[in-house]
Structure formats: structure tokens, C-alpha cells
């Protein structure tokens, strides 16, 4: 073990705020002719809780493994804390990983698992620091156990302590909560956020669970086919999706094709024709270049109005009338599927705040405030990013 390229001091490298903890520049990884990661460029600022979100096979885990040094690059460079590590072997990178399978060493006690990295770096006070890390995940009392004697959730926390104890410049989490049941997963999400805030290490979290990504990360990068579709704060991604994939993968969206026919309000609003009905879209929420667009609105933004009732507030978009084809009562809200002739089927989430529940067969109109409307490029696939039943949960 010659000198490691690791900050041996107490302060994590990521504590030097302002710099980039991770820079991925034009990285490609091919397996045969298939590009698992395709010309990916990405910067993760120090101290961030960053999520790489995408369906299985989108290249997110391959990206993570290349950052960790466990996978070769076909092209491009990777820098950690300002240092090019493209050709640095895994054991000399200031990075630690929480593996999806935890990969705890079965022949070592919990304490020795946590101490493993410290011992390899010949750190001082190994035992005390390992116990500190176990305290962080509240497992001090199990220090002498073997990993096989712990529950899944406990193993997960040992894996986290084993990585965090080294105070890496970057902590990689590869679907760390994937093997836990829903309740434990929610609990661990909060726990992870607390720990990240406490230690101040940059976290890069890979997940296919959009809710997990949005609740935990301060920045989310949505990946698809080895590329980044869109990157931003969770709320920003949700409210301003730029592709049909993001609109559908992050929450749900109603996307219907339309044609831009006029500019209103001095160009600040677009008038879009959707199957004969005029819909208003804020110009700054349209990213379409040509007249063909996909008009989108989130299900929770839509209100259901009686099929033949009085008018709606000025400036609201109205479609319909259509027919309720499905009603699912879910306690806090009710989900409707409404079929509008010539346009398509809309999903609607209605908060149960006292209004009537519309039974299937009811004639209704769909209304929403026009600022909630967005428009995407009309050449995109409407169903991109929707979850098939065949896909993993």
C-alpha cells in the first residue's frame, strides 16, 4: 500500500464546498455494440445529494460502477474532487460504495466490516472511529455480530456505516433500499437524509424509484438509454418536464397531440388546437420548435366539471365533455380515467375534500388553470417512460 490518493485528514474532501465532487465528461461505455452509457456529461457539486434516476437498463448502475472504478470506460474522463481518476484503480479512488446487495464480508464481525477501509488505509483510532460510525446508524450494540445474524435493514445500515466511516469525497449508493420492504424503505430514506446532512459527504444515489429520488435528492438526473434526459431540482423536473419520457417517468402526465395556431398576449401565450378545442399554453412552458406539439397537464391539476354545467373561470383550459370510464377511490384522493372522444384518455387525481365522487359513465368536462399546461415536441412518443406491467416494480 503506497500513498493513497485520499485525504487522510478529518475533514471530508467534499467539505470544501463550492467545488465539484464529481465531473463526468463525455463518458461512453459500450458492451459490444450496445452503448450502456452514451456520451454522458455530468457535474455533481460538493455536498450535494444527487440522484441518478431511470428505468432498469438505462445505464445508471454502469455509470456508478465507472465512478467507483469497478467498470472500465470506453471513452471520456472522470474527475473526483478535481483530480482525474479515469485510469486510477478502484482501491486508490476516494470513493466508497453502498452496494445493492450490501456485499458485507461474512467472515468478519460487524465492527471489522466497518473498520475494513480504515485498516487498509492504516488510519489511527480504527476501533473508536468504527464504533462512531456504528453509532451514527444506531447499531453499536450489534458490533460483535456476524452480518448473517442481522436483518436486511440492519445489514443495509452496516453497509452504509462501512462506507461513511472512510469520509470519502463521494459516497455512491447503488439502489441501497431496493431489497427492503416499503415501510422500512421510507424509514431508511429519512435516515439517509439525516446522515447525509450530518456528515456532509456528497451522495450519489442510483434508483429506479422516482418517489425515492424526489423525496431524498436535492438534484435529480433522469437517465434513459445511457443518456441524461433532464437534470434539475425535483420540483423543477416535475413542473417543467422537457421530454415525454421525463413527463411520464416522473409522476404521471396526460399528453395529447396538438397544433400551435396563434400567439396570444403579445407572444407570452400560445393558442394550441387540440382536436378542435383551443388550449392556452404559457410560451415559456413550451419547448416545441415547430407547430406540432404534445400538450401536457398533470393529473392532480385537473378539475372535473359537470358535462353541461355553467362556464369556467376565464383563462382556464377546458376539454370535453368526456365519459368517466374508471373510478378508483383511494382514501385521500380518487383517481379517474376520463375518455374524451377524439383526444384520448385522461388520468385525473381529485382530492377528497367533500365533492361528489363521479361514478363511471358520468359525463364530465376537464378543466385546469392554463399556467399548469406545458408543451413538448410533437414528434415524441406519447407513451415514452410509462411503466409497463412487465417492468420491475
Amino acid at each position: 500500500m503506497t500513498a493513497l490518493d485520499i485525504d487522510q485528514g478529518e475533514a471530508p474532501a467534499s467539505a470544501r464546498r463550492g467545488g465539484a465532487a464529481l465531473e463526468i465528461d463525455a463518458v461512453t461505455r459500450r458492451f459490444g455494440t450496445f452503448a450502456a452509457v452514451d456520451d454522458l456529461t455530468l457535474t455533481v457539486p460538493s455536498g450535494a445529494f444527487f440522484a441518478l434516476l431511470g428505468p432498469s437498463g438505462c445505464g445508471k448502475t454502469t455509470t456508478l460502477r465507472m465512478v467507483a472504478g469497478l467498470e472500465r470506460l470506453s471513452a471520456g474522463t472522470i474527475s473526483l474532487a478535481g483530480r482525474d481518476v479515469t485510469h486510477t484503480p478502484a482501491h486508490r479512488r476516494p470513493v466508497n460504495t453502498v452496494f445493492q446487495s450490501y456485499a458485507l464480508f461474512p467472515h468478519l464481525s460487524v465492527l471489522e466490516n466497518v473498520a475494513f477501509g480504515l485498516r487498509r488505509r492504516r488510519a489511527r483510532d480504527v476501533r473508536a472511529r468504527a464504533l462512531d460510525a456504528l453509532e451514527l446508524v444506531e447499531l453499536t450494540h450489534l458490533a460483535q455480530r456476524r452480518p448473517a445474524q442481522l436483518s436486511g435493514g440492519q445489514q443495509q445500515r452496516v453497509a452504509l456505516a462501512r462506507a461513511v466511516v472512510n469520509r470519502p469525497a463521494l459516497l455512491l449508493l447503488d439502489e441501497p433500499l431496493g431489497a427492503l420492504d416499503l415501510k422500512l424503505r421510507r424509514q431508511m430514506q429519512l435516515e439517509l437524509k439525516r446522515i447525509q446532512a450530518e456528515v456532509g459527504i456528497t451522495f450519489v444515489h442510483v434508483t429506479h424509484d422516482q418517489e425515492e429520488a424526489m423525496t431524498m435528492a436535492d438534484t435529480v438526473a433522469v437517465m434513459n438509454h445511457g443518456r441524461i434526459e433532464q437534470l434539475g431540482a425535483p420540483a423543477d423536473l416535475y413542473e417543467h418536464p422537457r421530454t415525454a419520457f421525463v413527463a411520464n417517468f416522473l409522476g404521471q402526465s396526460n399528453l395529447v397531440p396538438g397544433t400551435v395556431v396563434e400567439a396570444l398576449d403579445g407572444g407570452r401565450t400560445l393558442g394550441v388546437d387540440v382536436a378542435g378545442t383551443r388550449v392556452r399554453v404559457p410560451a415559456d412552458r413550451s419547448i416545441a420548435a415547430g407547430p406540432r406539439v404534445l400538450v401536457g397537464v398533470r393529473p392532480e391539476k385537473i378539475r372535473l366539471l359537470p358535462g353541461d354545467g355553467p362556464g369556467v373561470p376565464d383563462g382556464d383550459n377546458v376539454l370535453g365533455p368526456g365519459t368517466v370510464v374508471d373510478t378508483s377511490f383511494a382514501g385521500v384522493s380518487t383517481q379517474y380515467q376520463v375518455e374524451v372522444g377524439g383526444v384520448g384518455t385522461f388520468g385525473v387525481f381529485a382530492q377528497n375534500v367533500g365533492g361528489a365522487v363521479h361514478a363511471p359513465g358520468t359525463r364530465v368536462r376537464l378543466a385546469w388553470a392554463s399556467p399548469f399546461t406545458f408543451a413538448l415536441d410533437g414528434h415524441e412518443e406519447v407513451a415514452a417512460g410509462t411503466v409497463d406491467l412487465d417492468d420491475e416494480p
Binding site: 466508497n96 475494513f116 477501509g117 487498509r120
Partner: protein, 312 residues
Amino acid sequence: MSVVAALGRSTHAGGATDGATPTGPGAGSGRGARRLLVPGVLYLVAFFVVPVGTLLATSLYAPVPGGELGQFAPALRWQNYPEVLAQFWPQLVRSFGFAGVATVATLLVGYPMAYVIAVRARGRPGLQGLLVVLVVAPFFTSFILRTIAWKQVLADDAAVVTALRWLHVLPPDGRLSAAPAAVVIGLTYSFLPFMVLPLYASLERLDPRMLEAGADLYATPLTTFRTVTLPLSMPGVVAGTLLTFIPAVGDYVNSSLLGNNTTTVMIGQVIDARFFRLLDYPTAAVLSVVLMGSILVLVTAYVRRAGTEELV
């Protein structure tokens, strides 16, 4: 054993003692399982307990005064033990020495082989199968033939010795035939598959993600091997060394065929000569008992120390 097969019931109650644990629910089936043990117990009594008892008794026999060669009478002649040990302790010590060196050598040769087959060739079942067959293939020819072949390989004018002399590894008049080295080389070769196969079985189960975790936690490949791979393969190492060491201690084919009958004589050779040629049954029996006892003590100590029960 055929009785068990004829009953058409549990097949592993036959020869092994691990069938003793009743697996079915309820006391009635426990009694049934115990009944299934009867053939196995009878077999062991007839072919293990009685012979060992006879062996122990024979080791205490005394020569008949004025009797012919090979004539002994039942007795409790305890001084057989100190007398025989005083005469043959060098051969006994040499047997353990040769077997120990050969076991270490098979481990050093076999571990890389098993590692390549189990870890490097992982994901290519065809290649793995081929390599395992290559390890086992020599067993399809006779043990004696293979040992005689080694005699040719290690002969004074053969390529190996010539090359080693040319490289000055051996002095100009150095030889490998009829030397302790030849016996150890023969033992190493003979028992190599017994080392490789358990190691392979153990390394096959090694999770490659463990190695990645080691690298991720700042361990060099060598350190990962020392701290992760080797400890996780300890069950294979223990099994392999036992399967090599125990038969190697008692082996006499290699020392007879590759040795020189003086400085290479192992205890198996002595037992063979005493029993079949000199008809000195008590001495052969004493040596057999001592051999069994020392192996038992050594192996128990080794397994305790290796602590395999703590391993996964």
C-alpha cells in the same frame, strides 16, 4: 446397504452416521428412522469395529516360544509399543514430514488452479467443465502406472534432471530419482485433485461482489486476496489439506516405487513389509494403531485451530 435399497426408503440412512437425526415429524417416524439405521450400524460393526478391535488385540500379541515364523499367541504384551516405536520412529516421523511437505506443495500448486477454474473462468461453464475434467482425467489411468511414469520423468538421464543441472538448480551429479524429493513430488502429484476439487467447490461460491467491495474499501488485489478471498475459502483449504494429508501419511506406493528403500522409507512401507513379508503381525499392528492415533490427534488439533465451524 442393499437392504436399505430393497426397503426403497430413505437412501442416506445407509452407511453414514448423519442419518441418525430423525427428520420426520413425530416420535413414531423417529423410531422408524432408527430402524433404518440398523443395516448401517451392522455394516460398521462388522467391517470397522471388529477389525479395529482385532488390530488393537493383535498389537499386543506375543511370539510363541520356539514357534515358527508368524506364530503369535494372544497376550497383553504392552512392551510391543515402546519396542516398535524405538525401532521405527524415524520412518514414522518421516511419513508425517513427507506428507506435510507434500500437502503444502499441493496447496501451493492447487490453489491457483482452483482459483482460475472457479473465479477466472466463471460464467464460461464449458471451459470450467473442461478444466475440471483435465484435473480429474489422470485418475482414469492406474495409480501404479502414473507413479511408474514419474520414475521415468525423474530418471537421471531424462529431460527434467538434465534441465535442472544445466540451470544449476541441481549440482552436476545431482539426481531426483530414488531421493526424498522424488517421493514428495510423487505424493504431491498423486493427491493434487483431492486438493483442487474442494478448493474449487469453495471458491466457486465466492461472491465476486466481495472482491469489488474489497477494492472499493482501498484494498489492493493482493490485500483483498489475503483478507477476503483466502478466509472465505478456508473450508476448502481445510478439506483439501485433510484429504491430501491423511492418505499421504499412510501412502507406500510412492515411497516404494520412487524411493531408495533407505532414506525414503515411509511407515506404510514398513507396515507392508512387516505384515506380508516378515509375518510380524504385532509390529505391523502397533504401527497401524500409532498411525491412526497420531493422525486423529493431529487432525483434531488442526480442525480446532482452523476454526472451520465459524466459517460460512
